[in-house]
């Protein structure tokens, strides 16, 4: 029996006896993905002519998506560190799921880049045939490939351990990968993603050395929030808690720390902008408190609200954490939108007048299609792969 046949048999066996609701869920995701990705094929053939991006606002929803999804991948590394670095065995049931979430997030980020660039086939030559070592885009995209490889290796090792087929060497490698992934993700992946924007001295809102730090803290908050959210939703679907109440409490404490750092940076970021006397600073503040007030409120009220929930032990329950993690993810998405959009909406010349950008259906549809496709992939993989909670 060939490998392919073996894989097909395994998939069939894994899906045997699956609830009908699962297939309906998958079907809905496939339809959304099909419709959305159809839009990206049109964009590939005709260019981004139908989008609302312009020479004044060259980066739209896809680059916001890149910054957001890269952040979401941080959860995987944190869970890996908790298990392998700090010996928190109670996190084991979510270990493989966290790695899968990390991988899906990285795929989403790479997908956003590929849908955004004008010539994705040529972009695939990076970093082998085309490269510029001074470009943060080059460094970041190369680091994403490294991160993807690292997470894949970690996934294989975790599966081996789960199946009980891991030798002591495999276990050591798995542990090492789990620990290495943290500095790699934080120092290389997230910091350099922040640096993509931080080095742009033409845009005052972006050009700050604090941006990489901000990307690290917000990545940790949103990434860990996503792990919590998936843990709760999986427990809810399976009608069985994946982790104990004590682990939920610990998850809440972890999220609390990440939120404190993010809230601190966000608050002082906005405070400094409000005091800015430069023309660009004033314009940025005007946009933040004008056209972008809803996203500013979602960002700030959301972060403070989530922080308030996880600060109290009595709210660090699955229900409380469900609210806190959802709000955190939405609040950080709002921050990413504010950062990327407003950074470009401040005109580089007075005389250009008011610059506008609101993503239209030609940008949003492929974006949603990509997310649906990866949610489908995640759903299938969690069925097919031997996860800890299924095996034990």
């Amino acid at each position: 029996m060939s490998v392919l046949q073996g894989a097909i048999v395994h998939v069939r066996e894994s899906l045997a006896g699956t609830d009908k609701k699962f297939y309906i869920y998958c079907l809905i995701l496939i339809i959304i993905a099909f419709l959305g990705l159809g839009g990206s094929i049109t964009a590939l053939a005709e260019g981004h002519v139908h989008s609302n991006m312009s020479d004044m606002v060259p980066w739209g929803v896809f680059i916001s998506g890149l910054a957001f999804f890269i952040g979401l991948s941080a959860g995987a590394t944190m869970v890996g560190l908790l298990i392998h670095g700090f010996g928190r065995e109670d996190y084991h049931p979510v270990g493989t799921r966290a790695i899968l979430i990390g991988l899906m997030s990285i795929f989403a980020a790479m997908g956003c880049v590929m849908m955004d660039v004008g010539n994705p086939f040529r972009a695939m030559k990076i970093p082998f045939l085309l490269r510029n070592e001074t470009s943060m885009f080059f460094i970041s995209s190369t680091s994403y490939m490294g991160f993807m490889t690292l997470l894949m290796a970690e996934l294989i090792m975790t599966i081996k351990v789960t199946l009980g087929k891991a030798s002591s060497k495999d276990k050591k490698i798995g542990k090492l990968l789990g620990i290495i992934a943290v500095p790699y993700a934080l120092i290389v992946v997230h910091s350099f993603t922040g640096t993509i924007f931080g080095v742009v001295k033409a845009r005052e809102m972006w050009n700050t050395p604090l941006l990489p730090v901000h990307f690290v803290t917000s990545a940790l908050a949103s990434g860990f929030a996503l792990v919590i959210l998936v843990t709760i939703l999986t427990s809810w679907v399976n009608r069985k808690d994946l982790v104990s109440r004590e682990t939920y409490n610990h998850m809440g404490i972890m999220l609390c720390f990440f939120l404190i750092a993010t809230v601190f940076l966000d608050t002082f970021d906005y405070l400094i902008i409000s005091y800015s006397g430069t023309e660009e600073g004033l314009e940025t503040w005007h946009l933040l408190t004008g056209r972008y007030l809803p996203t500013l409120l979602i960002n700030m009220v959301g972060l403070y609200g989530a922080l308030a929930i996880v600060s109290f032990r009595k709210y660090r329950t699955p229900k409380g954490l469900l609210y806190a993690s959802s709000i955190t993810i939405i609040a950080i998405a709002a921050y990413r939108i504010n950062l990327i959009s407003i950074g470009q909406l401040v005109p580089l010349y007075h005389e250009l007048g008011e610059i506008h950008y609101v993503p239209n259906i030609h940008e949003i549809a492929p974006f949603i299609g990509l997310v649906a496709m990866l949610m489908f992939l995640y759903a299938v993989l969690t069925k097919v792969l031997p996860l800890e909670d299924k095996v034990h």
Binding site: A45, W59, A123, L130, N132, S135, E279, L282, L348
Partner: protein, 295 residues
């Protein structure tokens, strides 16, 4: 996506599927081939950099009458399609008289009333300011380009290699002068209007002013300099002390845009007042539908 191609009588005539999708598949196949081969259309050889030269341009704001002939000539010379709007050279009409204090509390209000780019009438009491690629000494666009599609030539020209551009638009986000243009759609230029010395671009790549490299490296001046009816523009070699540009810069007051960013822009603006014979020239109209700007 199926497109409605014509409406006949009471019913809509829809194209056959192979017609509707054929163009799309061809376009994607073309993109794949461009990605693999790395070349776009007919290769046009660019002359080699001029040894020992440092090209720059002086624009005399005292002489600029805002007629936009430079912008229009540049567009024709460099095969810039209509879909690229504004063209490489934007001409601003300044609304403030010298010495007037702009309200520092709400500078935003000045943006709301209209667009300094879209004026209709030449006025002697206004200043006109053409802006374009500044061919910086330390170009942020070249630093951030992930593929080295943008690079600084030894003779000072910031160049584009369209065969390397992946269309990530990082250079556009990084350029402080808003000098770069992206081909959001496939550029269409009538074949009899194509300048064979300049490569025709495709959709998905960024383009910009090249100081008319096909002319200047062959000893000629840029097309915008030739087209200016009031000789407001001077192009030349800064390393040559006897060049017109060097003499102008040693004798007149000048400024450069956003020098605080330390990019070393090589468009120098002269500021002394001069008599402008404006009544002889009518402005070349520009299309008002600029993407992203509120009209």
């Amino acid at each position: 996506m199926i497109k409605l191609t014509a409406i006949a009588g009471a019913g809509a005539v829809m194209p056959r599927p192979e017609e509707a999708y054929g163009g799309m598949f061809e376009a994607i196949a073309e993109k794949i081939s461009q990605g693999i081969k790395g070349t776009i259309g007919k290769e046009v050889l660019t002359p080699l950099p001029v040894k020992g030269a440092k090209f720059a341009m002086v624009i005399d704001l005292g002489l600029c009458i805002g007629c936009r002939r430079c912008s229009y000539a540049c567009k024709l010379e460099n095969n810039v399609p209509d879909s690229i709007n504004p063209p490489y050279i934007m001409v601003f009409e300044t609304r403030y008289r010298p010495g007037q204090i702009i309200g520092v509390n709400k500078p935003v209000e000045s943006h709301i009333n209209g667009n300094g780019l879209l004026y209709t009438k030449l006025r002697k009491d206004r200043m006109y300011m053409p802006v374009q690629c500044n061919h910086c000494d330390d170009p942020p666009c070249a630093k951030v380009c992930p593929t080295k599609a943008t690079y600084k030539s030894p003779d000072g020209i910031v160049m584009m290699d369209y065969n390397k551009c992946i269309g990530c638009r990082y250079c556009m986000a990084a350029c402080p002068y808003n000098a770069r243009r992206f081909n959001w759609s496939k550029p269409e230029i009538l074949s009899d209007k194509v300048n064979p010395l300049v490569p025709v671009r495709t959709d998905g790549v960024v383009e910009k002013c090249t100081f008319c490299v096909h002319r200047t490296r062959r000893g000629r001046t840029t097309r915008c300099v030739e087209a200016c009816p009031n000789r407001a523009r001077t192009f030349g070699n800064l390393n040559d002390p006897n060049s017109a540009i060097s003499k102008l810069l040693s004798s007149e007051r000048y400024f450069r845009l956003k020098v605080g960013l330390n990019t070393g822009p090589q468009i120098w603006y002269l500021t002394s007042k001069k008599e402008k014979p404006m009544r002889w020239y009518k402005p070349v109209p520009i299309s008002p539908d600029i993407r992203g700007l509120k009209q």
